[in-house]
């Protein structure tokens, strides 16, 4: 039981298909933002969806391709106020217990709401709320967070953002864990989103080790994540690359940190107001000499309207 809590997000990182952005949104409109202020830089309004599949390959256990989740995203900006709603069908994850190299299947749901205001074309400010539940055969966790963030545009093309998320995890027993996650990033966008455009973003997030009010529940691990994304829109073609490195600190009797490194490559095709995207990626989690590999594929489709 305790190990389930301990590992709650360890594997989710490698197969986190949402690929949410901190400073500015991705050029593929089917993918959500991580910080609400990023939604303030959306181009027009759009509706989109994605579905994704992953494979997990451990040293003693493997799981062949399974549906991680499917999701829909809708964002609308009638003025300088932007609302964004994201909902993912309850999807499947596998938690990795690196001490025994075993996998535990869980069902996860994800829903997000973001509200952002863009002011003077130079600043955005957003607040958001998100629920993310996890069910396993042994227990369930209701995770929620609410968030505030802001971003500033300088020199026309340079964007900087910072924000905080307040995270709460409630367990079936009634106990809970709570912590603050700090996020910050910088992005560069050049060009015209309807023709040719280059976008890159580097972001950092951090949350401290946090104990639960029930000592039987393992603490939330100290977590840091660095993410870099580069995208190029060349007329009808979209090329995308994402690098992500997540480190979760060792707790209790452990001696090694959990390190998760993933790479994702994407190709998209724009036809009128529609964008079709295909992404493929791989991740490696390590804890000392133990290793777990993941592979995933993702397809997206979105329709933009002004």
């Amino acid at each position: 039981m305790k190990k389930l809590y301990l590992l709650i997000i360890s594997i989710a990182m490698s197969i986190n298909v949402a690929s949410a952005q901190v400073v500015t949104p991705q050029l593929d409109a089917a993918l959500p933002v991580e910080m609400s202020s990023a939604a303030g830089w959306r181009f027009g309004s759009a509706i989109g969806g994605q579905t994704s599949f992953a494979k997990v390959d451990g040293e003693t256990e493997q799981v062949d391709y399974f549906n991680v989740d499917s999701s829909v995203l809708f964002f609308y900006q009638p003025s300088n106020i932007i609302t964004e709603v994201y909902w993912a069908t309850p999807g499947k994850r596998y938690l990795w217990d690196h001490t025994t190299d075993t996998l535990l299947e869980t069902t996860n749901g994800d829903g997000r709401f973001s509200l952002a205001i863009r002011g003077d074309k130079n600043v955005t400010l957003g607040i958001g709320y998100r629920i993310e539940d996890q069910d396993a055969s042994s227990d369930s966790i209701d995770k929620s967070l609410y968030e505030g963030s802001f971003s500033v545009r300088m020199l026309d093309n340079l964007y900087m953002a910072a924000g905080m998320q307040r995270v709460t995890e409630k367990f079936e027993s009634g106990s809970s864990r709570k912590w603050n996650r700090i996020l910050a990033g910088v992005a560069l966008q050049l060009g015209d989103p309807l023709k040719r455009m280059f976008r890159t973003e580097v972001s950092y997030e951090s949350s401290p080790k946090t104990t639960a009010d029930d000592p039987a529940i393992s603490p939330h691990r100290e977590t840091t994540r660095v993410q870099a994304v580069a995208e190029v829109l060349f007329d009808s073609f979209l090329f995308s690359y994402r690098y992500r490195n997540t480190t979760q600190g060792a707790i209790e009797m452990e001696t090694d940190d959990l390190i998760d490194v993933s790479h994702r490559y994407g190709f998209g095709f724009k036809l009128g107001s529609a964008t079709l995207g295909v992404y493929a990626g791989q991740g490696t989690q390590t804890a000392g000499d133990k290793e777990l590999k993941t592979q995933f594929f993702q397809g997206t489709l979105s329709f933009g309207f002004i």
């Binding site: 106020i81 509200l115 205001i117 002011g119 003077d120 130079n122 600043v123 400010l125 957003g126 607040i127 609410y146 968030e147 505030g148 963030s149 802001f150 500033v152 924000g163 905080m164 307040r166 709460t168 809970s176 709570k178 603050n180 009010d213």
Partner: protein, 328 residues
């Protein structure tokens, strides 16, 4: 003597309550550029630039340490609402806030903890010729508190009546002075009344719609006050209290960055958890970012931190989101 000491220990909690219910991020001489931040002295409401209605929600958690060991964990959440409008040169402002704290009591030790609190304020200010504002206000606070294993769920009501004045000079400097009369009634102690004297100075540069900068410092003082035993009711005691408040705000392109701090010190002489305590202190800080348009929807968020030192040491942090509408 021991009874008197216990009494002082118990009533000391009451002095803390108003700060726990709604930390002193309220403004004394001039209002915050956040239109949903309430004022502490009613005359400050007379310098409001725009009418507004706002709502805030916060959630936080913290711990209490005693003699180097963590003894309690807190989870708190609360809401507040603020409405400010004017008719001619009359400014009216109403504020209500509520806060609930959940504590896992693993042991019944000494030390104040607030479980539930409700706060309501009404401020009315008159402004004259962009030179002076004068205001009257009332504030009511109800709270449910823990003090020790005997007084473990006690209710208290405090009613404050406030009068204040502030003047503007050289187009940018503001001076303010206020007087507050506090009457407190509780379920376990005799009634107590005392006075607070508050003064402050502020500087506000810039005009609405452009880049603005505001800084304010204020000091609040109150002498100690006692009321003796009466039947089964405990002695009441308000310690001599000194509160320093400092706030700084800068706004550009409609984006407001705000930092506020409050430092409270109380002179006491009591035993708590086996320790002799001469001073109880508390520090509240708040930092936030808000989008403040000329009119329309406003949103923002704050980080809050609180530290308290007595025989124990409390540390809590919270996060607040705000949504408001600013009228033309």
């Amino acid at each position: 003597m021991e009874i008197a000491m216990n009494g002082k220990k118990l009533i000391l909690g009451l002095g803390f309550m108003v700060f726990l219910v709604n930390p002193g991020f309220s403004q004394v001489v001039t209002p915050s550029m956040d239109p949903t931040q309430s004022v502490l002295m009613p005359s400050a409401a007379g310098w409001r630039e725009k009418p507004a209605a706002g709502f805030g929600y916060h959630e936080g958690s913290g711990t209490r340490d005693l003699h180097g060991e963590q003894i309690y964990q807190f989870d708190d959440s609360g809401m507040d609402a603020n409405l400010a409008f004017k008719a001619g040169n009359v400014f009216i402002e109403m504020n209500a806030s509520q806060k609930t704290t959940t504590v896992k009591l693993t042991a019944a030790l000494d030390g104040h903890m607030n479980f539930q609190s409700d706060d309501g304020r009404l401020n009315i200010a008159l402004a004259g010729n962009d030179f002076v504002t004068i205001g009257l206000g009332a504030r009511s606070t109800d709270s449910l508190d823990y003090f020790d294993q005997v007084y473990d769920s006690e209710s208290t009501n405090s009613l404050r009546t406030i009068g204040s004045i502030s003047v503007k000079t050289m187009d940018m400097f503001y001076l303010g002075l206020g007087f507050e009369r506090v009457k407190e009634q509780s379920s376990y102690a005799v009634d107590l009344t005392w006075n607070n004297l508050i003064s402050g100075v502020a500087m506000h540069l810039g005009q609405p719609g452009g880049t603005q900068f505001r800084v304010e410092y204020s000091l609040a003082l109150s002498e100690s006050e006692e009321n003796g035993l009466n039947g089964d009711e405990q002695e009441s005691y308000h310690p001599a209290t000194n509160i320093n408040r400092l706030s700084a705000e800068i706004m550009f392109s409609g984006l407001l960055f705000s930092v506020v701090s409050e430092d409270i010190k109380m002179e006491v002489d009591m035993m708590e958890n086996g320790d002799s305590i001469k001073e109880v202190s508390m520090t509240n800080t708040q930092g936030g970012v808000l989008w403040i348009p000329d009119n329309g929807l406003s949103i923002g968020f704050y980080f809050l931190a609180n530290n308290a030192e007595a025989s124990y040491s409390d540390s809590t942090s919270a996060f607040k989101v705000k949504v408001a509408y600013i009228f033309q």
